[in-house]
Each structure stands twice: as C-alpha cells, then as structure tokens.
Symmetry: C2
Subunit: 333 residues, 2 copies
DNA sequence: CTGTTAGCGCTTTCAC
DNA sequence: GTGAAAGCGCTAACAG
C-alpha cells in the first residue's frame, strides 16, 4: 500500500496524510491522531526510498573503521556500534557499519550516501583517510580517537582521555600504599600517555624510576618477560601498571613464575577491560572506557551538526578505573 | 549533477546513458565506453535513492544478530561481517549490520528495507525470531547456525559442522599415539557434538571413558577444576579435548598446577580459535571455523535466491583443526 | 541502437 | 487546516 491508497481509505489528501505522518504543526490534532492510529492498524509504512529521494535526506549514519584490525578490540567495535545504532535509531536513522579498508573504491561508487559519518580512528588513521571517507568534507563527521583531535577542524571529535584514566589507576595504587610502581608499555615510547606517566606518578606521590619502565610490545609473552625483568630488579616495585590487559596477563604469569602472589606480593593493573580481563586469575583491575557513553557522545555531536547546523565540537571522555582483585595493599617492606 | 545534465554534456538521451550505466546489451559498445569514461572523468554518480525508488530494489543486505551477545565471540561477528561486506560489495550491494535486540521495533518502523537477510543464529534463536526478522518470510534469508537447520524451510542455511572438525582433532590425537582422552565440556550434555563424541573417539581407536568426561561450564576457572579432576583420575588420560578455548586455557593451568608439562605430559586441544588461543602458553592447538568461507557461502546462497530465484539451500561447512603446539606425542606409559 | 515519455511514492509549495 | 499538483532523479516501456 502506498500513501495515495492509504489517503483514500482515510478520505484525506496525500498532502494532509504526509503532514500528519511527519508531525507537522499545520495539521489539526485530531486528524493527526486519526492518521497515526489508522497507519498502525493497517500497518502502513511509507516507502523509504521515495522519502529519501524527495527530501534529499538518507536517514543513514555510517560508522567507518578504516583500520579496524588495529582498534582496541572487537568487543570495543561491536559495543560501540551497538550503542551508536541505538542512539541514532531513536532519532530515525539507520546505522551502517563499514569495515572495508578499500576506502577509495567505496567513496567513488554508487553505494548509498550517508547523512553523517562516525569514524573510529586507530593510531595510524590520517587526515587523508578522513578526507576520503567524508568525500573531501562533503559529509559531516565525528571522529573517535585517543587523546588529541587530528589536524582536520571540520570534523567533531570524541577524544578518549586515557591519561586521566590511568591517573585514577595510579592514585588507586598510591592509596593502597604503593610507592614504587613499574610500567610495562606497548612499545609506543612517544605516546601522550607515556609522556604523562612520570608526572602522573609524581602527583600521586609515587617514585618514577625509569629503570622500572619497559616498552614491551603487544603479546602476553612480551608482558611476561618485561614483568620478569622488572620484578628481578634489585629494588623491585610493589605494583606494576601494564598498558594493556594482555600485557597485564603476562605480568601476572611472570609474578607466579617467580613465586610471587598477586596481589599479595605484587599488585597489577591493566588497561582496556578486554573480555579476558575478568577471566584472568585473579580478575584484573583495569582502566576502561565507557563505550556506550562514547557512542552517545559521538551521536549527539554528529546529529547536532546534521540537524542543527552546529559547528564541529570537541568532547573529552575519561577512561575509568574498574576495581577487581589484582591490586591490593602494598606489602610492607 | 543528475543524469539529464550529464546526458546533455554527452549529447545523448537519458535513456541511452541509463542503459550504458546499467550495462545493458542494447547499447553499442562504443557508446557504453564513452559514457563510462565521461562518468569517471566528471565523477558522475547516479542518485541511489531514485534508482531504488524506480527499480524497487534496495541494493542492501542486512546482517542481523538477534542474540549477538551469545554468539561465539566478537571477533567471529566482526570477521563474518567483513567477509560478507566484501562478498556482497562486488555484487553492488551495501551491507547493514543490525545488532539491536529490539527486533519488533525495527520490523515495524520505516527503516530502509533490505533485499536479503543474513541471520547469525545463536543457540537460543528461534523460528519466531526469524519470522519477525524476515517480516513473515517476505525477505529472502540465509541463516548461519551450528549443526542443524531450524524448522523454517523458506530460509537457506549455512551450518557449521563442528562434529567433523572435532573429529579431526580426535584423529590428530590418535595419530600422536593418544589412547585415553579426557573431555571438558561447556555444559551442553545433549548437544549433537557431545552425543557424537563417543563414536568419534571409537572411530579413531581411542577409548571413550565416561569418567574422563566432565561438563564444566564456560569460565576458565571451571575448565581448571574439571581438568584437575580428570588429571587426578586413577588412570589419567594423556590428552584432553576442551569444548572451548577458554576451558582449554583453564585446563593448561590445571596441568601446570599439578606439575605436568604441556604437551610433554598431557596434550590439550581447544575449540573456537579465539584470539587468546594463540597467546596462551603453549599456543593452543584448536578447532576453528574458516569465517570468510562462511561469509562467502552465506552470500552466494542469498544472492542466488534474490537474483536468480533459486530455492532455499542447505550448505554444511566443516570446522578445521589448527595445529599449534599444545598437543604432542603421547607420553609412553 | 537511440530518443521520448510515463511513471515510481513521496513531500511541498501554492491556492483555497 | 486541507486539497491539488508539481516535481525529486531515475528506469523501462514504447517508438522509431
């Protein structure tokens, strides 16, 4: 059934019905009620393509992840997608996930254009990638990234403030009485977080000892070896902060292999809250992003640009500490 | 620019241009070449919504995962989505991932309808869910499921044959000389795989001892305890097959805690090939699905139904053994 | 092989 | 507040 047949049943013109369905002010309250009731009763839904054609709107948001394999984790991506889907859904938009890395192919093809774009950036995502995805800035975009916006001011940003999240972890350790804390990094010596670490520790009253910090890598095995080295230090720390949960899992094994109890002898805190974090023994205290919050923030920024022509904005969201049981009071020395 | 302006530039009618763009036979080879070249040069792309309106096609496949939280893992979902996206992309379709569990809301709303549906079923997905998703069978669908098709013959199925994958694992153990093999299950005593296990072992010349089989659950801790019990059996097995990699990881820890080497004293094989499978120490030999293959199979079945009106089909895809290093030769007894 | 034209189903002026 | 009618950009008959 299309809108003209439906209008005939109601003895109304298509114009009036259309206005009622679009919740326009010019239509009388009772007509609107009638139309809505009948539409539900007869299960009448408008043809989406005709609406899109005539309005020039697509009612479609795309979430693109050009380097999805380097994004925190699949869980992150799936949960983020789901939260954005829910958030845009209540505003009448569909959400279309695009994983493909063949950016250019798609940008030039005749796929359905989107009204807005959520770009999940990885460390290697560049301004050029954004330019391609947005068709040179034609489509409003919000970029989800770590720490700092990229050099592309036309987009909105939701920045994940890992520094302050890690600050919470460091303070948590300080409150538990730790004064010497080791660090197992993921190999990014120049990252903002890595740079901020000495200050974070100092602010919490913890000694920053560079010989207690190792840039390990990404695997559990690398975490194991780095932690082993740190724990064999002549003056070992009572706690270790690891840049990722995988590294933290390796660090826990290293402690065990040296006959140390966790958290009895050494406390360990991870980062990311990946699925295994809760499966590890003991369950990992870790720093995590509130993913649904990120999704909501991105959605509201994007829809503000699309529907209200608001300018690009920058939001900062903090990661937060999730306390489980891998960190406890410092052992007395 | 729209097709009439574009046609004027070429001094052709919109009809001819449209035919050329749609790769119709009635247009001359050189005209087609000219049109295509000019379109690329001027970056002309047709309005997708107008095409959709007039053709009645949506050029859209939806992949729905009504119980996504109970599906094997996020990696599975993301990789599957990506492989389907690539496969339908070359045929001119967009792919729309729908995670939302609010099935009915969406089915009745005015979101863009899809030409076909890929349904990723979880154990709790019912025929009724499929009915809702397909709008009572209005839209062609392919269901990806374990072992057996559901009682809904209008859909095509891609069934993951875990039984034969596990058969490979059992045979692998047999070839390594194992004659007594324990089993750590995930709590589904009546599953097809569980039912087939005694036969699988017998066929491989391995003794099936029910006292060596425990339905553990889903956590690593449960895997630990089940494996501990099995390994303390008065006549312990030389190998253990665990229903999931998480259970297998627990089993490895149990072996270590009893002072047993893996695979020196006991071999362990998992199932699923989740990310941590390769991170575990030793890296886990496991039974895995070739996800891109599943995606391609689902896509070809679906597009055959949509474009060639082919009847619903049922495909079975086997899981396969991935040999790493957690299984080795049986210890001599 | 190419041109002409009537819609696809909806929204939105413009009258009333 | 409602009705009539003109398109949105494209495809697919139908002529030629």
């Amino acid at each position: 059934m299309n809108i003209v047949e439906f209008s005939k049943i109601l003895n109304l013109s298509t114009g009036t019905v259309s206005r009622a369905l679009n919740d326009r002010a010019e239509v009388s309250a009772e007509t609107r009620k009638l139309v809505l009731a009948k539409a539900k009763e007869l299960q009448f839904t408008r043809n989406a393509n005709a609406r899109r054609l005539v309005t020039g709107k697509n009612f479609l948001i795309r979430i693109a992840c050009p380097h999805y394999m380097h994004v925190l984790s699949d869980r992150y991506l799936v949960e983020l997608t789901r939260s954005v889907e829910d958030a845009v859904g209540v505003r009448g938009y569909d959400l279309h996930l695009r994983l493909s890395t063949r950016l250019l192919d798609h940008a030039l093809s005749e796929h359905q254009p989107a009204d807005g774009l959520v770009i999940v950036a990885a460390p290697e995502t560049t301004v050029n990638d954004i330019l391609i995805l947005t068709n040179s800035g034609q489509v409003p975009a919000v970029v989800i990234c770590e720490e700092q916006p990229l050099e592309y001011p036309k987009a909105s940003y939701v920045c994940i403030d890992t520094v302050s999240g890690v600050g919470q972890a460091i303070r948590h350790l300080a409150e538990l009485g730790h004064r010497r804390v080791g660090y197992v990094g993921s190999g990014l010596a120049g990252s903002p977080l890595r740079l901020a670490l000495p200050r974070l520790m100092a602010d919490a009253g913890i000694l920053w000892d560079p010989t207690l910090a190792i840039e390990a890598g990404v695997t559990q095995e690398q975490g194991f070896q780095a932690a082993e080295t740190i724990l064999r230090h002549p003056s070992p720390p009572t706690a270790i902060f690891a840049r990722t949960d995988v590294l933290a899992a390796g660090a826990i094994q290293a402690a065990y292999s040296l006959g140390l109890a966790v958290p009895g002898d050494v406390s360990i805190i991870g980062h990311d809250n990946i699925e295994v974090a809760a499966l590890v023994n003991p369950p990992l205290t870790t720093v995590a992003i509130d993913i649904p919050q990120v999704g909501r923030a991105a959605t509201s920024a994007l829809l503000a640009m699309i529907e209200n022509d608001e300018p690009a904005s920058v939001q900062r969201l903090s990661a937060n500490l999730i306390v489980r049981s891998s960190a406890g009071p410092a052992r007395n020395t």
